[in-house]
Amino acid sequence: MLTFIARRVLYSIPVLFVSTFLSFTFVSLAGNPTALLRQNPRIPLNTIHNIEIQNHLNRSIPVRYWFWLQDVFTHKLGKSLLTFQPIWPDITRTLGHTAQVICISESLAILLGVAVGIFSAIRQYSVFDYLFTSVSFLGYAMPTFWLALLLQILFVDIYLKWNVRIFYTSGLNNPHHGTWSLDRLQHIALPVMTLCIISFALYSRYMRASMLDVINSDYVRTARAKGLAEWRVIMRHIVRNALIPIVTVAALNLGGLLGGAIVTETVFSLDGIGYYFIQRLQAADLYAVMAYLVVTSVVIIVFNLIADVLYGFLDPRIRYE
């Protein structure tokens, strides 16, 4: 197991370098960070040249990549070329907010999705099954940004009509409220709901399919033949095995979630990492965009690795040499 983890980590390192180099090339070609400065007539061209030389903007892209790499390792992802502020504090702050939203919505989505999947599979072709099959089909077809907008409009309307503030529709929290305050929860409730509905559709479908795969296997018949109570057959024998593939689905869903977070956080103006990425991309802030890409790919690689390791623990048939 340890050699497997070591090999996977070692394999991820060149993947990370190649992917960052490619995105660095793309992003550098995309925008000139000094374009904004050049528009300002009060800044003399000399100053701009100095800035370019200081930041190696006059060099070729591989050389700039090399300097950027040094910055990443020695100065925690370096400084923004536009604001000259360090990037690291922004990244940790926004990533924390996104993590809070994603963790809550994922826990809810997995809990609900698994529960609904179990019942749908046990009562296959019942009204309940059909209802939630339709719901998950809708959830699949629903664009994240539209769902977010609908929720926002709904709660703005509720506020305007009855003057009750159930959930806030934009922002992270009012001043002087902490991470787990009621005020914060009221703010992040709608983003959480958006991501939760989208993921719920996924998990309930997978759980249902995975249950149906297991439900007809021989050992389940054996368990029933031994005279076990039905709930025991379901909870101990079927559900435990049906849950295993969900681990992989959840890990692979992380990329989609971070993408969904870009859209959701933008709609709700939530100070998360996706919103940060969109703003920095619009401003052509080269190094901040790179920081986002690096951080998200590290997060995704780590979670995929965790999922593979967990999979090996949960399913004894899987052995990594």
């Binding site: 991820s12 993947v15 990370l16 190649v18 992917s19 490619l22 995105s23 793309f26 992003v27 070609l29 995309a30 925008g31 089909f137 809708l138 699949y140 077809a141 629903m142 664009p143 994240t144 940004f145 539209w146 907008l149 609908l150 926002q152 409009i153 703005v156 309307d157 990329g255 989609g256 971070l258 993408g259 969904g260 870009i262 859209v263 933008t266 990425f277 969109i278 991309l281 619009q282 052509a284 965009v289 986002y292 890409l293 998200t296 790919s297 995704i300 690689i301 995929n304």
Partner: protein
């Protein structure tokens, strides 16, 4: 008992078939495509989806005939009017009095062009790369798989957004190009998998022994067996491409406003959240398109799987 009806004799029919003819049963030769078509036609959801798609895409194709107004016709005396039949403003009007029904219809046209072109080009390209990678293996296969690894380490939306920022956004065809350049990898991976397993089959060996060249084996012998997954993936890609285009346009990195696409319309509606029709109609159209595409895709998946003969055809 009267004379047994004589059915047209199938070519190369054996004596078993003769006896069924004598028993009065008709024997019909059906190809795999016949079976697939029959299975598809019995799939109720798929037919519903197909009907929906024909209606929605038909409205887009004939936008110039159906839309009562042009998508850019401004009427400042009729601003932000709710849905009404007066003046055929079925979906109301927007903040500068443009007829929203016409805008949604033209938006469907843009979105369906993007969806269909992306699905077609990425399927074709993915098919070629996947076939070569799966059949020959070697460096193309390696490159494809490593590239897939790279793509999997980032959120897809982030890659697309960065690419859109690089290539410059605005035009419909640039957005189409970006999506197609990203989508082919998925189809290539599917085709590669099928080729990898089929190239070891006996019938491929037989074709080789008969002296068939590589191109003939790949495209005459193996390709027909991969068409099922390709068609299903290509169909689903239409829906995914339309949603992704909408998301890109919504975030301001896709198609730019003078051209109406469904995503552009939803993005524009953000300035007037109180006028519900501005958000509901284009968004609902996207949901309906994707729902129908998914139903058709599911039906095709069931129909094109030759191992499945559950539905009596």
């Amino acid at each position: 008992m009267s004379e047994p009806t004589v059915a047209p004799r199938a070519a190369g029919a054996s004596s078993v078939v003769d006896s069924t003819i004598e028993a009065g049963l008709e024997v019909k030769v059906r190809s795999q495509w016949d079976y697939a078509r029959r299975r598809f036609l019995r799939h109720r959801l798929a037919i519903t989806g197909l009907t929906g798609l024909v209606i929605i895409f038909g409205a887009g194709i004939f936008a110039n005939l159906i839309a009562p107004y042009s998508f850019s016709e401004i009427d400042l005396t009729n601003i932000l009017h709710g849905p009404t039949t007066v003046g055929h403003h079925f979906f109301g009007t927007d903040e500068i009095g443009r007829d929203y029904f016409s805008r949604v219809i033209w938006g469907i046209r843009t979105s369906e062009e993007v969806g269909l072109v992306v699905a077609a080009t990425s399927s074709l390209f993915g098919l070629l790369v996947g076939a070569v990678a799966g059949y020959y293996g070697g460096w193309i296969d390696n490159l494809l798989m490593r590239f897939t690894d790279l793509v999997l380490t980032l959120p897809a939306l982030a890659i697309l957004l960065t690419a859109a920022a690089l290539l410059g956004q605005g035009s419909q065809w640039r957005t189409t190009f970006i999506l197609a350049a990203f989508f082919w990898t998925g189809i290539a991976r599917v085709v590669r998998g099928v080729f990898l397993s089929l190239r070891e089959k006996e019938y491929v060996e037989a074709a080789k022994a008969a002296g068939a060249g590589d191109a003939r084996i790949m495209f005459r012998h193996i390709l027909p067996n991969t068409l099922g997954p390709i068609i299903v993936n290509g169909t689903l890609a239409v829906g995914i491409a339309i949603v992704t285009e909408a998301a890109l346009s919504f975030l301001g990195f896709g198609i730019k406003p003078p051209t109406p696409s469904l995503g552009v319309l939803v993005a524009g509606a953000q300035t007037n959240p109180q006028q519900w029709w501005l958000t509901i109609f284009p968004g609902l159209t996207i949901v309906l398109i994707v729902l129908c595409v998914n139903f058709v895709g599911d039906g095709l998946r069931d129909a094109l799987d030759p191992t499945q003969r559950r539905i009596r055809a």
